[in-house]
Amino acid sequence: MAIGGITLTGVTRTFQVGDEEFHALDRVNLSIDRGAFVAVMGPSGSGKSTLANIIGGLDRPTAGSVVVEGEDLAKLGDAALSRFRNKAIGFVFQSFNLKGDSTSLENVMLPLTFARMRPKQRKARATACLERVGLGDRLHHLPNQLSGGQRQRVAIARALATEPALIIADEPTGNLDSARGAEIIAMLGALNADGVTLLVITHDSAVAGHADRVVEVVDGTVREGSAG
């Protein structure tokens, strides 16, 4: 068992589709060490995103237990689970999911706002995060004034804001060209080097090539894989 990492034991996630049950995850056992860079690969509809959502506390398993950073997520209510997501997890989405009416700074400050951090502190923290991803000169730009790569960097800065132990990136390079995608992966790699556990869901074997470990999800089951 990975202390401070991620442990899934017998995790099943079942969806009701009409009269039939669909097992997105079927008795999954998975252990990820703290500070690891894990790529999750698999065909569309295999259960990759469901796995990420369950690890990230956005979804709950139908059966089995999920322990992330020492927290048994099944035992947490909405408030505690929300606090857990806020403090322990950073999400990076394929389509960035930035608030269109807010500047880069305001977007990065948003998780700190939910954490009830004082305005001055949250501004300083958000500025530092944006500088860390190379956007110190784009603090007051709206998302539509930024390129795709810059938007994803804002999203990474937002994921970093609460200094989480785990960053879950779901197809982070899916909407970027290869050069911008490589930049983003390099940036995520740098964060991992600083001790952040990284879980990247990807179809891209080049991205998986940067990972310490590749996990394949096929028909709701998990097995160790390779980047190639």
């Binding site: 956005l58 408030a79 999911n97 608030k99 009416d101 998780p111 939910f114």
Partner: protein, 515 residues
């Protein structure tokens, strides 16, 4: 999340959907404006009426009138016309007035009489104007009754005769429109009927022969006086009267007030003793119609006179007799009403009860004021309901806006949940937004309503100079501003409740997938 952050995110969200926010707020503004204007109108009228009652002292006054006697009596009603004994507590006599004045907390009593003198006076003249008496009344000028004046002063205790108060419409008719002060101090003439024998009349020792009387002759133009009888040929006279004050026509319309003592002196006409004239009841001082008992009496008395050697058609030598004021009052069934002043509004009800126990009816100014207020409240309820209907429709608009907002921002809700927002945070965010729509609708509604009220105030003050509402203070009360804004905010909050709950219950995974 901190309160300030909720506010900030709410304002940003409203700004993002400017047009939709504007339209939603506009619907609330319509309702809030309506409620503000209507309730301001009703409140102002109520305040104005209360102010009038307080200013004129009516709030501390009790009006005493006779209790109607509904029991049939073959010998006549005790309250009906005819001689009645002084001190009878069922009529408004000086004795009753003294009895009431002696009650605890009573600071003054003033008698009012209508009709005293008016049957003897034909018209008022001044500078070529001749005006009818519309409402000629009299009261004891002892400070209890205080008419609302626009110029001059009230009648005072020293005004025992030859002084009057006129309402401003009389002043207008006499050519003093807009300059009422100039009428004050002017002497007008009160023109009596022919045959007048009241105060100021020159009473002859020899009456002209009754044969000059033509019973079929109709009334002379401008005269309500007798056309026959032994005094019919006495000339009309002019009683000079100084106008001491001009009253507001808003509260006293078409009224002339005389001091009560003068009205009694005018009405208490002298009778020629032994002339065969008998009284036919209150207000009748001349020969009675040629019917029934009176005719017999006349005939009998005339026959007696004839027997004493005076031939019909020859001049009659008479001596004149006048009743005392008390006798006159008794004959006329007492005063019309009494106004009782009490030393405090709190004591009015108790004094009114004490007066009721004296066998007369007591109506308090507070009762009258409450009736006025009830009418205003009824109007306010109807008008306010219209505003509430508008607000109800606006509430549906808020709900619709919020439901749309939740749909449009489903993905954003998912992202916020992923970033650590609790369900309660999401619910509060949308509730704040709906409440803000209501708040701004109420705020702008009050502002626009105040502008309407201000405009209406100007229009009223310009166009209704002497109208009943010209003095009303039309301004939006602070409590109404607070109530309207709080009310529309509450409407927003309630309207946003279900959409906000729906937003909070969204599954974050589903929300993140929403396109």
């Amino acid at each position: 999340m901190r309160f300030a952050d909720y506010l900030l995110l709410t304002l940003r969200s409203l700004r993002r959907s400017r047009l939709r926010s504007f339209l939603t707020i506009s619907a609330i503004v319509v309702g809030a404006t309506g409620v503000t204007v209507m309730l301001t109108f009703v409140t102002s009228v109520k305040n104005f009426v209360t102010q009038q009652y307080v200013q004129t002292g009516q709030i501390d006054q009790i009006q005493v009138s006779e209790t109607p006697n509904l029991t049939y009596s073959p010998t006549g009603s005790s309250n009906g016309p005819g001689p009645q004994g002084v001190g009878n507590t069922s009529t408004l006599t000086p004795a009753l007035e003294a009895q009431i004045a002696a009650l605890p907390h009573v600071t003054g009593v003033a008698a009012i009489a209508q009709g005293f003198g008016s049957q003897d006076l034909a018209y008022l003249s001044y500078g070529g104007h001749e005006l009818n008496f519309n409402n000629l009344s009299a009261y004891e000028p002892d400070g209890v009754i205080t008419p609302t004046l626009v110029a001059g002063r009230d009648l005072g205790p020293t005004d025992t005769a030859n002084a009057i108060l006129v309402s401003s419409d009389y002043a207008d008719a006499l050519g003093f429109k807009g300059s009422y002060a100039k009428l004050v101090g002017q002497t007008v003439e009160l023109h009596t009927d022919t045959g007048y024998t009241g105060v100021g009349a020159t009473l002859p020792s020899v009456l002209p022969p009754q044969s000059q009387c033509n019973p079929t002759q109709g009334p002379q133009p401008g005269s309500s006086g007798p056309t026959c009888g032994p005094t019919a040929s006495l000339p009309a006279i002019d009683l000079p009267a100084v106008v001491v004050g001009v009253m507001s026509a808003a509260s006293d319309h078409g009224v002339i007030y005389l001091p009560l003592s003068w009205a009694i002196a005018i009405g208490n006409t002298a009778l020629p003793a032994g002339s065969g004239i008998v009284s036919c009841g209150p207000g009748t001082r001349q020969t009675c119609p040629d019917t029934g008992q009176n005719q017999g009496q006349n005939q009998g008395q005339n026959q007696g006179q004839n027997q004493s050697g005076q031939a019909p058609g020859s001049p009659q030598i008479v001596t004149w007799t006048t009743q005392t004021a008390t006798q006159f009052l008794a004959q006329r069934g007492g005063y019309g009403s009494l106004i009782v002043k009490v030393d405090g509004t709190d004591h009015v009800a108790a004094v009114a009860t004490s007066i009721d126990h004296l066998g007369v009816s007591a109506a308090t100014g507070i009762d009258a004021l409450n009736q006025q207020k009830q009418k205003a409240n009824a109007i306010g309820l109807i008008l306010g309901s219209l505003g509430l209907v508008a607000l109800f429709i606006a509430a549906l608009g808020v709900m619709n806006t919020m439901v749309m907002s939740v749909f449009e921002r489903t993905r954003e809700i998912g992202v916020m949940r992923a970033l650590g927002a609790r369900r309660s945070t999401i619910r509060r965010l949308f509730t704040f937004e709906a409440t803000a729509l209501g708040f701004f609708g109420g705020l702008f509604g009050v502002i626009i309503g105040s502008v309407f009220v201000l405009a209406a105030k100007n229009v009223i003050s310009k166009s209704v100079k002497s109208g009943s509402l010209s003095g009303a203070n039309f301004s939006v009360p602070i409590w109404l501003i607070v109530v309207v804004i709080a009310g529309t905010s509450a409407i927003g909050l309630l309207s946003g409740f279900f959409p906000a709950r729906r937003a909070a219950r969204l599954d974050p995974v589903e929300a993140l997938r929403y396109e």
